[in-house]
Symmetry: C2
Subunit: 478 residues, 2 copies
Amino acid sequence: MSEDQRKDEDKALREGESAVDTDHSEPGAEEEVYELSRKNVAAILYAVDAGDRDRLIALMDPLHAADIADLLEQVNAYDRRRLIELYGREFDGEILSELDDSIREDVISVLSPQVLADAVRELESDDVVDLVEDLEEPQQEAILDALDDADRVVVEQALSYPEESAGRLMQREVVSVPEHWSVGHAIDWMRAREDLPEQFYHVILVDPKHRPTGYVTLGMIMSSPREVPLSEITEPSFRTIPVDQDEEDVAYAFNQYHLISAPVVDADERLVGVITIDDAMIVLDEEHEEDILRLAGVGEGSLTDRVIETTKQRLPWLAVNLVTAVLASLVIAQFEGVITAFVALAVLMPIVASMGGNAGTQSLTVAVRAIATKDLTGSNVWRVIRREVLVGLINGVIFAVVMGIVGIVWFGTPMLGLVIAIAMVINMVVAGLAGTVIPVALEKLGVDPALASGAFVTTVTDVVGFFAFLGLAAVMLL
Amino acid sequence: MSEDQRKDEDKALREGESAVDTDHSEPGAEEEVYELSRKNVAAILYAVDAGDRDRLIALMDPLHAADIADLLEQVNAYDRRRLIELYGREFDGEILSELDDSIREDVISVLSPQVLADAVRELESDDVVDLVEDLEEPQQEAILDALDDADRVVVEQALSYPEESAGRLMQREVVSVPEHWSVGHAIDWMRAREDLPEQFYHVILVDPKHRPTGYVTLGMIMSSPREVPLSEITEPSFRTIPVDQDEEDVAYAFNQYHLISAPVVDADERLVGVITIDDAMIVLDEEHEEDILRLAGVGEGSLTDRVIETTKQRLPWLAVNLVTAVLASLVIAQFEGVITAFVALAVLMPIVASMGGNAGTQSLTVAVRAIATKDLTGSNVWRVIRREVLVGLINGVIFAVVMGIVGIVWFGTPMLGLVIAIAMVINMVVAGLAGTVIPVALEKLGVDPALASGAFVTTVTDVVGFFAFLGLAAVMLL
């Protein structure tokens, strides 16, 4: 599509000609939560069209960096470029931090070197790491060059940790004191320091080898007499995180144990950084997103990806599904004779497969989630499998009765009703079994169950559904 | 199943006879994150079997309350009861807090009134609210009676706010000071107070009408000279939350704007409480869980639900699917003649429906997620729809070519190859369109798109798939 077309379409949108209006449900409540209303976007794009820089800045000023990032993700590439150029030096580092990976490179390429350097220098070291880790070499270099030598060393050191590890996630600015200090000692020391981080919630106690032994909340320090030893008011929630731990496990620990911050340690148990709950929350959110998309056979990908990228991402999953579907067809092909004799079989057979597929998806989603939250373990796997099979059996019997009656009434052949009823029960029991056993087995094999379970389970329910229905028909009807 | 059978099965598991071992992948890394190993569970249940209270307490002592709650969720009802009875007075309130709703009532009914009262008295008011809000009247009364009068009033007041609102989520213990105070003034006041909460991260500034006007982190107070006015070192992230705001929106705001804590205000903008990021993280996690389960047609429900409850939860979704499947069958029934003439159609038709269903699910999952994260708005809805349709078209053409060739090679009828190819393109374009438009439209109508989109989209792709394929066959082959 040409840029002119894009312009026309977006202009139409701005002028309110669009039929589908997706402003969210309760307008009042919505606007309080989310400042980037549709009206807002339209006004901003209008200012861009008019080249009115003052108006643009006035409109963007009240927006949080996260909302500006959302705005840049929502507009098309042409408007995005013009907006950034007009916004110029106002562009700050936090917006870059908040941007989706998919358009970050695009945005960076539009920024002038000076604006980019200024933007990056404002950021904390962990945000810079997050920013540069997915960039191509030349852009990465451009950003690293903008940093002071000291910051650059910190960022490069963080980049030396494995991707998606605690080392990439942590901040290196840590407030730690010797474990034998008292409250008063710590307060005096903090009051005298000039380089305290702006955001910190705990003072970490370390032994002479710089190994963390506990932590104390600032609130606890505030409310304790000066002479109290810090070691007497440490938090019971204390736990350290190995620097090479997977970020998914880090997020899990924060969520499970309600951590606010946790010290990160190297292989010798020495303190190297700290991770705070806000970073863990972002990872948790990303992991969830990934799980949902994987369950649906959408690998990675974002709303701002182009058509070709999106097509490429979805193609492999559809290819797997095609193989599955052809397998099911091969089963049907074995029964051409009985289908020709009773064409009603062709009419009814998708019902058996579809009900099995749905029941299987229900079971597998519950299993995949339970595995992700570590609720499905060796201790209860048999109980869960038994439950899913029983649920499949009961629902199978209920729908077998319904479909048996439908089959008899519709086609006037009691035997056909019986065939579909039995096939339905078989397939729904198999669905419950496959929906639980397959994700558990994949997890054991080290394959992400969210990624692969769907295709396997559907194959099983399709093949079993068609085979049971048509096979029974061949035996009982011919 | 009888309790004896349960006992036998669990004993077998404990003795390691189980074939499926779901201890998670890398053993080392795993155990660091999650303390409740399978071995651990087995040892604990062994102590329960032996009635060895000291051993049980020794084994449970190192476990976090969240892990004990997981343990209680994983064992069967019989073991759970015996474990709680043996554990006796060691049972604490935090375990109750961490328990899944589905077994909380069951656990409370096993606790002696004295243990329950002690357990509840340890909890913060917001945890008590979370604990009692879903309980039946008599259990709720038993817990409220265990509280001091002052705590009881606080809890009852919280319960007067709507369910799933900010009012239910907030803590009432707030540290607030007049907005004109200096750093030194605030420090002296905090040092002199004896009732500071143990966990707090910000000091909230209020005007004379007790309306919050900003907040200052404890870290900032620590690192600022005594004479600095607090109003000069407030955080830019400051935003208040209305007490009746939906907890989903609260979680969204924390995630989007990286809040650590936020003051909650009543209709007159007066400070009534504070919500911290750890509470928001729990809500975010629950909302995600709900979305995943809803997308799969599993309403609510947990792994500890019994067979009957689970069957009931899943039945409505399967019933909807049955209606969908019957609709598709009605379409097929219109073409009985052509199927009898060309039985190959019966063999190939599920492929067209299945590919459309998969492509539709991909599009709808992306759309549902984008709506939930407010990334899909009026500003980009047309662009997203166009993208999905184009992706459907391109993938449709690719798989049409593949299936066209398969059709020709398999059945030796070039026209059949052409029919399946055209039907495939049509259905995948429709899938992209329906997968985006249906969730957007449902959201506009105030229906949760995660809940209802799947059934609609599959209906569309099934009906269109069968109709296009069989209709084209009737025209082109007969």
